[in-house]
Amino acid sequence: MTQDVLSTTFAALADPTRRAILARLAGGEATVSELAEPFEMSLPAVSKHLKVLERAGLIARGREAQWRPCRIEAGPLKQVSEWVERYRSCWEESFTRLDAVLAEMKEKEKQNARTK
């Protein structure tokens, strides 16, 4: 995944309405009017958000002119979550070593207290 594509993904995800739309689509396909319902938003406003999500490759839309149901495309989101997970696991390794250092420091303090 190139940097540009990733930036587009993050930009698309930066908006709370678009994240809510994605969360709704994670539960299954929906039409534009179904998606508009919980947001008290006009259809054109929802369509605008959908276009941003579609350009970022986060959703795909059916070809039937009337309905064009939207569905989520997991690929880019999965990439983002994998990046976060790898960053996390690298730091977790460091902090697990820090746990061991702290246990040793605690033990040393206990011994010093005993010998005093």
Binding site: A23, A74, W83, V101, L102
Partner: protein
Amino acid sequence: MPVQNSSALTVTLPSDLEILMTREFDAPRRLVFEAMTKPEYVARWWGCSGSTMPVCEMDFRVGGSWRFVLRMADGQEFGFHGVYQEIVPPEKVVSTECYEEPEFGNPEWLATMRLEDLGERTRMTTLVLHKSVEARNGHLQSGMEAGAGQTFDRLAELLASMR
């Protein structure tokens, strides 16, 4: 989904420019602060799997600078440096951090590390603030150097973390 205990590290993306890490340690705050701010301790835990730390210099005072070099198992070296901006023992350290990699434009960010006193335990939060979305994403990407992590779909968790 992985089982999370209270010691597990969480990483979230609070905004376009930020990365937030939260973790608890089973030790009183003054010991955690010491382990994070004295080079003889830092050299023992900072870094990635199989790495050693041939350079760990810390001039730990406001305006003082630090420099770390990580040597990977394959001999590759990665340098980091920065300047301490704010120090409040034993609860807060603010520092600039620069990853010495001209290929990536030597990205620099601001890290604010806070320690919360939970009695016999300590909660750390570290907020990393980048200058651009590209730099933040590049920083996350550098985590990929850690190698193959678990790959699974954590869509719901990710969306929740971005709220």
